[in-house]
Homo-oligomer: 295 residues x 4
Amino acid sequence: MFQMKKICIIGGDFRMICLGRQLEESGIFVNYFGFEKMTSVSPVYSDLENALDECNCALLPVPLSRDGIHVFMPMSDNKLELNGELSRLLKGMRIYTSNAEMLIKSGDYDSDQIFDYFDREPVKIENAVLTAEGAVCEAIKNSDYSLYMSKCLVAGWGRIGKPLCRLLRAFGADVTVSARRSDDLTWIRAEGFTPVHTNEIINSGRYKFIFNTVPHIIFTKDILENTAADALIIDLASMPGGVDKKACEELNIKLIHALSIPGKTAPQAAAAVLKKSLIEINETTRRNTSWKNQL
Amino acid sequence: MFQMKKICIIGGDFRMICLGRQLEESGIFVNYFGFEKMTSVSPVYSDLENALDECNCALLPVPLSRDGIHVFMPMSDNKLELNGELSRLLKGMRIYTSNAEMLIKSGDYDSDQIFDYFDREPVKIENAVLTAEGAVCEAIKNSDYSLYMSKCLVAGWGRIGKPLCRLLRAFGADVTVSARRSDDLTWIRAEGFTPVHTNEIINSGRYKFIFNTVPHIIFTKDILENTAADALIIDLASMPGGVDKKACEELNIKLIHALSIPGKTAPQAAAAVLKKSLIEINETTRRNTSWKNQL
Amino acid sequence: MFQMKKICIIGGDFRMICLGRQLEESGIFVNYFGFEKMTSVSPVYSDLENALDECNCALLPVPLSRDGIHVFMPMSDNKLELNGELSRLLKGMRIYTSNAEMLIKSGDYDSDQIFDYFDREPVKIENAVLTAEGAVCEAIKNSDYSLYMSKCLVAGWGRIGKPLCRLLRAFGADVTVSARRSDDLTWIRAEGFTPVHTNEIINSGRYKFIFNTVPHIIFTKDILENTAADALIIDLASMPGGVDKKACEELNIKLIHALSIPGKTAPQAAAAVLKKSLIEINETTRRNTSWKNQL
Amino acid sequence: MFQMKKICIIGGDFRMICLGRQLEESGIFVNYFGFEKMTSVSPVYSDLENALDECNCALLPVPLSRDGIHVFMPMSDNKLELNGELSRLLKGMRIYTSNAEMLIKSGDYDSDQIFDYFDREPVKIENAVLTAEGAVCEAIKNSDYSLYMSKCLVAGWGRIGKPLCRLLRAFGADVTVSARRSDDLTWIRAEGFTPVHTNEIINSGRYKFIFNTVPHIIFTKDILENTAADALIIDLASMPGGVDKKACEELNIKLIHALSIPGKTAPQAAAAVLKKSLIEINETTRRNTSWKNQL
């Protein structure tokens, strides 16, 4: 079991700050780098070498990088490059990161020191549950209709789709779910929802709320032309999403592309998920366990 | 059975406009008075006598009045007094109103012509369900925590409390409910929630989300002093609410007094509830049925 | 607060034995009278005076009597009359009973000594929940159909109806509920069930499962003639029930009149409900509190 | 699309008779072979060649065979061997069967003519849902406790475990679920149940109800020794089950090995699942589609 003593949190959004505080509550010392804009956080260092002083581990953010070149640091005006210099500074430390592969390639790392705390099934599942919660809020907030007694369509019976459907039902919505596989369609019916094959989402005009969770274009112009003018579409799939944005604009259909919901609407809960992941990594990993073996 | 032919909608907020449109979809002609600020509504009259032309019924808003003197008309710069002149203009028409008693006293009305479409149990119940839905959204939107896995307290096991608790459970919240009557406390436990007597809401520090539905001060300074600093309180009780606002400010506890939720977050659904009420009144009432007999 | 030291359990069915054991687990001494047929119970006395020795309280069964003359003692071949002699033997003791009024009239009791542990709202509610659970089992056991995907009718939206409907929905049944009051009908719809006015249960042929909870004849011959031949009717209302038995026989419709479900299918749970009631009585009553004041 | 005209149902239990009747209701002619004991079925033939007259398809039962030699025919005193003679009689017909592989090997069949209607994911899923329903009934029927407020353990988060857990929760049970995979454990928690790793089901004494769905011995003598004496164990796993039967007897723990639940407790519903499977096969298969391609 690995024992965190002092950790340096390098960049990221408010969720990373929440995570830092939750680690502090567990008696771990935390240094922050890349948070100059946040006055409420401390100690914030402007020099990474100082920030890493006495740390036996470091945390890189979610996502690791937006541009593939710099560490994601929206709360700082400084820039930190993903390069050999960074790997040199982190030498010998345990590094928790998202996008482990990108990090490995960017410098001279020892694969034994790197642990991907984000690309793990438990993290994905709980993030999906939090995403479903936030999606429900987006829906209520942005429509003149109620979920209660409304027809809803959820495209996709995956990690987000399942908890989302159950929430919508709790509100008294009439929930239809689209999928392709016959076992998914059977589960959908077995749980009391109305199944529809993805190829048959045509009569989309019935729905006041449409949620997409599938990461490729399902809601084409053809389908959108049959969608009710007063429908609300919430796209939960990562970029580029599953809805033809241009067609929505042309047809004047309200579309919300809701990305990174957990980090935005429930940063404390999202941080708690990450903390659990760190603990699990520390409890289960022995020396010589590379990040690859985790997968 | 009474047949609406042409109705004049006099004042009110966006929910009344939604109601007007839903009536139009059922083939009823609608005139609007008191909506000059809304360009999308038509026909809007600036003269009530013209607006009432050919109407066999009129609709007064929810609430009937905010100041007790004028009809509630937030979408107009004009003012319309509740007085004998108004009753003269409405003579012989069927009038649907909220606060029937206030209206009756304000002029020379025939009690047979007045029908309270708001003070009816089915309207109150469905409004409560819509309120619970909106309350959940307020909670998600305004807290850094998720409902998922959070401890929630709902004060009151009434029309709003019951559906609210069931929604919170669907999100995976740990729900405690306060009430006074032993049968309510038994039902709360029988439905799988944790009951607590209202007098024993002391250890309120456990909760990340507190919802009040009781229309008198339950959350006193004493109790608020034990509330967690990062808790969110949502007060759903009508003015003055059930939470000591001043104490919340002093203690820096986030309080949201969420009033008239259905009309704001789901005006279409709230209007549909009212439309159902109008239809029920028209179907069940015979001539000589005064509003008093309905109760 | 009253402290039970030694209690004499006088008659009743297996539920009373479960209750006795649960009291023993709490450190209370228990004597049994009227259980000669049960070899596993001890100490069983055949003389009531001996059984009452050193007891500061006594427990009479549910129901108190079947014939109005003798105490209900199905586990004994002896008979115990409800008369002045019994009241003399119980003099000065606290007596817990069902049907308090019947007991009072049968002898020379002090009203301060008698406590009805059964005619209390919390007991009724939890018994109703246990009844709903047992009713579901009767339904599954006695039909060739599954609740899953079947149309069910529940007559009555009372203590039993509410939890029963929620259970049926959990099984994936399509649940219709009959009631008379407009607020009940609104709640039924608000909870996502299909409401039907009691006067309009005509097309009962749609249902594979019919549950009655209303204690007077609702399912008349007329209605039964429209019921499907392969339907199963479960009548949960106390005698004489709500279904025309003779008509069911003539029409060859399967009818189960399921009485006293909790005591039969879950005697331990039913006893736990009674024990809670005894504890509540002991905690809340002061001297000079007659059974009338409890109501 | 294949059109059933006349089908011969060869052997099986009451579920097959229900299936026959449901096919008849769809306008398909049905001959029965192997049902002499059932007087209510017709036409029953005692000669297979006659029974197959004019049939364009035949249905073999679930299971195909108990002894590997004869067709499963519990409702007949005759015997029908799985051999070349049978394949000769069925030549040219479409054959719906369970255990397709066993059938293929037993005679001279054309693989294009054989369709396994049982080894299909949708059938397995809906059978699992029906099994969960029946399991709940077994639990209520066989325990003195109620599911309401009881601690339950479900071993296994598979097809049966998932719907079973959701049902138990609807009854107000406190549900713990055991699994091995970390993503399963996360889903269990995400759905609001208490997860426990299979290796840590030690303190099984907490549970009044234990359901096993895992098809190998999980409940060893060691674990059973820690199980409460008044617990009820329901084993839903196919033979030999997941509970040490001998240890249960020695320890006097009540064990029910509930096999083939859907066919027994809900034959009509189980038959409806099979009928759907036949329809799906007929709609999706083209000529030259062997049973292997279905998988």
